[in-house]
């Protein structure tokens, strides 16, 4: 569905993406994860055909998304900055979408509007942030586009609505499989929904793997400082911390399955996908604690 080779997007003042490579399969739910400013939104807008690439190859549905009518008709981009005409109320907006998108499911749209208590005659400008996000989410579901892209769709939603959103996303995906890209700052909330994660870091595709592979690639090790250090040096050490004197905890990236029985003096524990992501992408040694240590030294 989506193929990128050495994709780059450079602006006059800075570069947003450079040499990004990835392939996204049809009919999967992929989480696009990255730190603030990593390039997630740029990546998704390039795929949606809003932005033009600077160099490299980008094919969506085997065409150039910037110029392809097929890509525009078969994809939809949902974010909280969606530009919608202010002269139409919610019902009229839904009708507009219905006319453009052949897969539009009208009963679903109406049911969701009722469920989330969105008044059909209201105008976007008069809705709260959360209601606006909910409305935009409804558009994403009802349109049933083969490629549906959500850029932080849950901003402004309270926890209960978020939960409903995830459940609705899954249910509609089961009923009508499609390719979904979902970016969110709440990885811990969505990790069960995702099949794969694409981590964008340093303007590149840092990692692209299944959620379970991500979790299995990182492990936390606790024990005596010496033993922990020895273990950490055998693998890619991501962070190390002296908790009690003589004891240490380290987070380590491992390449293959660790036989924990071989290390009786160490305690292993798994991390959530979100924690794994944070440790893998944090280049600052010692974390935020270091800032306070350094400032205390003065």
């Amino acid at each position: 569905m989506i193929e990128c080779k050495k994709l780059s997007k450079k602006y006059r003042s800075h570069s947003a993406l450079s040499n990004l490579n990835c392939t996204i399969q049809e009919n999967t739910i992929t989480g696009v994860i990255g730190r603030n400013g990593a390039g997630k939104t740029t990546f998704m807008k390039l795929i949606a055909g809003y932005l033009k690439k600077t160099s490299g190859e980008l094919h969506v549905m085997e065409e150039n998304p910037f110029t392809s009518l097929k890509v525009s008709a078969n994809s939809i981009f949902i974010d909280d900055q969606m530009s919608l005409p202010t002269s139409l109320n919610l019902k009229e907006l839904l009708n507009s979408f219905a006319r453009f998108y052949p897969n539009w499911n009208e009963p679903l749209a109406n049911e969701l509007m009722t469920y989330f208590q969105l008044p059909q005659k209201a105008y976007m400008q008069n809705l709260s942030k959360g209601m606006r996000s909910t409305f935009q989410a409804i558009i994403g579901f009802a349109a049933r586009c083969p490629l549906t892209i959500y850029d932080e769709p849950t901003t402004g939603m309270d926890a209960a609505v978020r939960k409903d959103f995830y459940r609705a996303l899954l249910k509609d995906y089961l009923a009508f499989p499609r390719t979904i890209l979902l970016s969110s700052h709440h990885l811990e909330e969505i990790e069960n929904l995702l099949e794969n994660v694409l981590i964008i870091h340093d303007q590149k595709a840092f990692m692209h793997l299944s959620v379970s592979e991500l979790k299995e690639s990182v492990v936390a090790v606790k024990g005596e400082k010496a033993a922990v250090n020895e273990f950490a040096s055998m693998h890619n050490k991501l962070s190390i911390n002296e908790s009690f004197p003589g004891m240490a905890m380290a987070v380590v990236q491992v390449n293959n399955y660790i036989r924990r029985e071989n290390f009786p003096h160490l305690t292993f524990s798994n991390l959530t996908a979100n924690e794994a992501f944070i440790y893998l992408t944090d280049s600052r040694e010692g974390g935020i604690d270091r800032v306070f240590e350094r400032s205390e030294l003065d």
């Binding site: 249910k171 929904l193 379970s212």
Partner: protein, 130 residues
């Protein structure tokens, strides 16, 4: 249906274990059709591919078999496979634990074997008296 989110295990393994429990409980008889990955996804609010991974594990262990186009079904010997697998895992863990503990307490291996023998005799005695 909720998962124990505190659990350390990957979701697909939790799914596999839940299915094993269902089979042991008798919810599924041999040659019954097991839940599809979509049904599992709906049940647990997880991605169907992840649910599929759990099913694949059971397939690899010969607990389920595939019928082309129809789905996955419980093998006739599924129950016994599950029981022996669990037995082996649990028992192995316990045995390793005993050996480690004995080492830590500096108990010589022969004394350990004696302890095992007397434990065995105790249970045998219990059985005899029943």
């Amino acid at each position: 249906m909720k998962f124990y989110e505190e659990s350390d295990l990957p979701i697909y393994i939790q799914v596999a274990e839940w299915l094993e429990n269902e089979i042991l409980r008798g919810q599924f008889e041999p040659d019954d059709k097991i839940y599809s990955q979509y049904q599992l996804a709906d049940l647990f609010t997880i991605n169907p591919a992840t649910a599929g991974k759990g099913l694949t594990i059971l397939f690899d262990h010969d607990i389920l078999y595939k019928k082309r186009g129809l789905g996955m079904f419980v093998t006739p010997h599924a129950r016994s496979v599950i029981l022996s697998k669990r037995k082996n895992e649990k028992l192995t863990l316990l045995v390793n634990g005993i050996v480690d503990e004995a080492e830590r307490l500096e108990v010589p291996f022969d004394e350990l074997i004696d302890m095992l023998k007397s434990a065995k005799m105790k249970t045998q005695g219990r059985d005899k008296n029943d």
